[in-house]
């Protein structure tokens, strides 16, 4: 299998793996945040802020994977 074929297979696989990972991570973060707010509604502001920071970092990993996809996509020849 040559480099082009490997790249063509690895790129979508890598992006989908990143999407699955961040989806799982975000799901867990949101679930835990909901649980925490339900248990302690007066701390909702702090929980939301921590949740936003976590969500931004998780989302960033997927965006990195996506940008790497676009960078390497140009290297796949026709």
């Amino acid at each position: 299998m040559d480099y082009q074929a490997m790249l063509s297979l690895a790129l979508p696989f890598g992006v989908s793996l990143a999407a699955c990972g961040s989806g799982y991570g975000l799901g867990r973060a949101v679930g835990s945040a909901m649980e925490a707010i339900g248990r302690q509604p007066e701390a909702a502001g702090k929980i939301q802020t921590a949740m936003i920071i976590g969500a931004a970092l998780i989302e960033a990993l997927t965006i990195y994977a996506l940008v790497v996809f676009f960078i390497l996509q140009g290297k796949i020849g026709g």
Partner: protein
């Protein structure tokens, strides 16, 4: 002191800091790295700020004790997911902008956010008024 804890205003202050960092970077970037590189980093940073604003709007309207604010959530989701991501795609397709420079600008947002949160955690600024004699209180 309402501004001192990790409340919702923490994000507003962080966004302001990111904006200031990007504005300081812009003239120096144009001088040292060239116009398009600096503009790409700046655009990536601005995209990151807008993304963070809409992410916080989504979280604040969906995860709250009073229940979901449906109208606000729908608007935030509609702007964030199709429109903002299309704008990001358009930025990636600008021939003068390197995707790496856009990514650096986007990473500046995350770096500032992470450093501010880490700084608060390390300095113990969120421990409450009973810890007022610590280093965090002194530098507050």
């Amino acid at each position: 002191m309402p501004n001192s804890n990790l409340g919702l205003d923490f994000l507003a202050r962080t966004l302001r800091t990111i904006g200031i960092v990007l504005l300081i970077f812009l003239p120096f970037g144009v001088y040292y790295f060239g116009t398009y590189t600096a503009l790409a980093v700046f655009s990536g940073g601005v995209w990151g700020i807008v993304n963070l604003i809409f992410l916080s709007a989504v979280v604040r309207s969906a995860i709250r004790p009073e229940g979901i604010d449906t109208a606000r959530l729908v608007v935030a989701l509609l702007v964030k997911f199709p429109l903002l991501y299309l704008a990001g795609y358009a930025l990636l397709k600008v021939p003068q902008f390197s995707p790496l420079n856009l990514l650096i600008g986007f990473s500046i947002c995350l770096a500032v956010l992470a450093l501010k949160a880490l700084g608060r955690a390390l300095l113990g600024l969120d421990k409450g008024p009973n810890k007022s004699d610590n280093l965090g209180e002194a530098v507050r």
